[in-house]
Symmetry: C3
Subunit: 434 residues, 3 copies
């Protein structure tokens, strides 16, 4: 995607999709790049990362740099994603840093025809902030050599060791200093495999640890410095459910982007932070969240973990092994505590419109009501909950809509998919609130 | 509450109760302030925050500042809580900061008669430490203008963005510098709604994320800088159980104070960090903590998750779906792992007295024994556990008593409630240990 | 253990075993030191800490310093562990710091014959980094006075307050400055009892809070500064299972060492980070991890939480209260999500050898297959999973082997135990991979 001002066009990045730049033993070593650059719509990521580091064998990386140039020069103009190749780098190895510098010089050379479609570079294995400054300086030199505007190449880093995790805390004081161009920073990306090695962590099964603090710290640094937080790769490609759960967990930390290893993962990750098409009720059934089936306006629980029966005086609600004897009001209260509602895009837009109208009418806070009829073991119960919305609530709940708007503005190739998904009417209203 | 040395009288703050300063459409726009300032005893908070920011509509805030003056001037002398009005502030908006400055000037003007009852101000939406210093300087200017002692106005901040979360780490190096008066800092308060917006976090239901790292970092900063950590508002006022669980979670992080939105929440939050009146045993029944019923000295489990039966050779203990065949000793061991005891105020005072006596007698460590007879499905089992207490254990377990003593000294209006709750004897002994 | 270059011989520390230095009322106040210094093999820790601070009564500490000298001078040459006495120190009390200095001077005096067997000192209750520098400077003075090489005494610190938790973030910028010798730093050790006091945390039962963020921050600081992270004491000596769970949790954070209070805990902690002798499959049975029994090549689940039956069309799998109707492929997928494999030392060495051979043959990534036949309620299902190994995976999964190699090289007294455990063949191959 070619733009005049390359960096920071996107306020949100859902997907960071890496592709090996050169594969040995194929007719065309650029085969995987050729295939990736054809992706469109929900299969195309927000950010495409031709990966000239770990995904490509060391002896193929010079060829890989050439492949990036060839493929991007030919197809970059039509490609809907931002393009940020990953080059080699290592905080402890000047030889590797030099190689990364040379690859950036080559890829950014306007004579090679690719740079007008390239938005920046991804620098792995950074260490202290002084190491980040070296990469920044190399980009400044490359821009200078090739007559590119200073700071026009975005820089994204992979956080895969303790020292770079700590360095993120210094961004607010370092960005903006006259002796660097760190304002070019764009994405902070977690790299949990190498991070696990650097932290010397061990798990019995060899699975990666969850690293919640790392993800929090990355999201916080992105928030404080106006950057974008992206989580690392999810290796078990087969496990779609696990990938989704990881994204939900990330989103609650403000880390809205994630690495994708396949077009299938790209589709999942492009959709994950967007609100669902239909809202639904969830029951906390003894510690497990169960989605209720909506049948003719009634929300039905159909499992064995929770059961309900009527007695003379009232009701018996059984959750796991615990029996509760309740009257009608107590039952309603108990169920309210167990129930929650996941709003659809339509619901969110409705609530925002309602709050905006109330604000216009001079009211600073309004109650939003969620009501449902719930059926358990054939017994129906009406529940209803109010939630106060004030300006702060409104703004905090606006994030998925702001994200949707960013996607819609930057990804015309996804307009059809989004209209198919949500309907034209909802899409249009979602573009007009906020 | 009027004092000569305003700041830092309280070593603990359980409750941070906010009240809108001016409500449109009422006969008296100060109605809610008038009502709050009448609170006494367990309904009165440790810190009362007339809220001239988010709780009050923007166009009512000048009137709100006047209302604070009127209500505090008239009733402040008799009010048992510290009073810390929240003024407007924003790290990104000088106009808002100027307005906050003007409101502080007005409220602090001795001619208006309120400032002798006001302990400090709460500053929301702070950013980097340099932003905190601006608020500090404005307070210094206000003190200077009005002839108040420099540093006498306490300053508390709301942490509601990533940059202020990071700024907390700098307090130890910044407080005490000759060019600021940051020693006036008093409370670090989390504001999770705006924090969630700033972090751009999304949850499926729109609930606030739990933000455990933020709460840890706030508590740690408070500990390192001699300040007090307070958690943000719990919106679902109906959900008392959820509010209690949040407080228990906070307390395990050292965040002993919490925002209260209603007098009902104030009562809950004033009581929550105090030890219970009666001790009780808890059984971990397949992942759910169940409080045992004490019947004539026997602790009875009455649920379905755990069952116990006698066989020829020994016992069968069933937990969830798992059957364990055990002899008497193994059964005792297994139950010990599942049981824990929550000591009462009386129990804690007993243990402290016992340790103090042992120390006086020259012993540095003693074993404290907890014993109980537990009944499951009619079968009784005696269990007993020793815990070693040394000086460090003694000091770590002393926190609830130190908190109680701080409450008792600073809140004469709660003496009757505390005596009713615990009995005069326990209260007196609790005031004399430690 | 006497070495020329004392610090940093060990890249890993599994066990940090403390012993009171002087006990009143015994014939020989050094009795416990005498007993500890006889430990060998799996009962002997990686680091032995004669504890002249909290474990020893204040009035016995001068005698304790003398006892350390006597016992180490006599037995230190034959003792297999590093020896790091803990001296007294407090960030807030110069008198305590002075006492610690005097004890270090005495213990390090070559005329007393102990220092050649002592590797460094443990400094408790440190505060800001400037406080760490005081302890460092006292050690430099001691080295100078006694003609020891500058920096030869290792320094380890106990992190037991918020300010020292924050100080850990500064190590990378402070270590290596010409005006200190902080390169002598060796272990960062958590002290959760005092930390809990400093943070003023409260739990209902008086149990220590889990402090996950503290442990993460300690591990991260250790990783960033080339140090070793050690967790604090686990008080409930009886609860072996709880101690193991804590170690597993620590290991997933990269905190591979832990405090041990008894030789029994030393044995557990020495073994915990080493891979198991036999690999095994684990089933996530409705939230509880259950180890499957291996019977003649079939992995058998024998509990009630998960059940499986065959129907006409396929299978019914019941997990907790939820019934799933599945065909053969869906059943396999579902079970795959519930199953994981814990590899043995032998398995890990196999995989590493296989990857090394592939790399030699020019392949950068290979698929490792885990296959099993699982039996639930008499029905057998074959499952199989591939995991891609590339260089980063290889390195991240290598940690337990690197740890094993460090143990084997530094602890000849454990060779027999390790050979008994794993077999000579596995030990030899484990020493040759990587």
């Amino acid at each position: 995607m070619s733009t005049d001002k390359r960096t920071h066009d996107r306020k949100f990045v859902r997907t960071f999709f890496t592709t090996p730049t050169a594969v040995e033993g194929e007719d065309d070593s650029a085969k995987m790049l050729q295939s990736a650059v054809q992706l469109r719509g929900m299969q195309a990521p927000d950010v495409w990362v031709p990966d000239n580091e770990d995904a490509t064998a060391p002896n193929m990386r010079d060829e890989g740099a050439g492949n990036i140039i060839d493929v991007v020069a030919e197809h970059g103009a039509d490609f809907p994603a931002e393009i940020h190749p990953r080059v080699v780098w290592h905080r402890d190895d000047p030889g590797t840093r030099y190689q990364g510098f040379e690859h950036m010089r080559e890829i950014a050379d306007p004579d090679n025809g690719a740079i007008e479609h390239i938005d920046g570079f991804v620098i792995p294995e950074v260490g202290d902030i002084d190491d980040w400054k070296k990469a920044d300086e190399f980009m400044t030199i490359v821009e200078n050599e090739h007559g590119l505007e200073q700071g026009s190449l975005a820089m994204s880093v992979i956080i895969e060791c303790g020292s770079s995790e700590l360095a993120m805390e210094e961004l607010r004081t370092e960005m903006g200093k006259p002796s660097n161009n760190l304002e070019r920073l764009f994405m902070l990306v977690n790299g949990e495999v190498d991070y696990t090695k650097d932290m010397r962590a061990i798990t019995p099964t060899g699975e990666l640890p969850p690293w919640p603090e790392l993800r929090h710290n990355t999201s916080r640094a992105a928030s404080a410095a106006g950057l974008i937080a992206v989580d690392g790769p999810y290796d078990d490609i087969r496990d779609v459910e696990g990938y989704r759960e990881r994204m939900t967990d990330n989103q609650a930390k403000g880390q809205l982007g994630i690495w994708s290893l396949t077009p299938g993962q790209v589709v999942e990750a492009n959709k994950s932070p967007l609100p669902p098409v239909e809202g639904y009720w969830v029951l906390d059934a003894d510690g497990r969240e169960v989605e209720l089936e909506s049948e003719g306006g009634v929300e039905v629980y159909d499992g064995d973990r929770v059961s309900l029966s009527e007695t003379d005086g009232g009701y018996v609600l059984t959750v796991g092994g615990d029996e509760l004897e309740l009257d009608a009001d107590e039952l309603r209260e108990e169920l309210l505590d167990m129930l929650s509602y996941v709003p659809s895009m339509d619901d969110i837009v409705d609530s925002m419109e309602e709050f905006e109208a109330a604000k216009e009418a001079g009211r600073g806070a309004i109650a939003m009501t969620q009501a449902a009829t719930v059926r358990i073991d054939g017994i129906e119960v009406d529940v209803e909950r109010d939630r106060m919305w004030d300006e702060a609530t409104y703004q905090a709940l606006q994030t998925p809509i702001t994200l949707f708007q960013d996607v819609y503005e930057n990804r015309p190739d996804q307009h059809d998919d989004l209209a198919d998904l949500y309907g034209e009417g909802v899409v249009e209203r979602a573009m007009n609130v906020g």
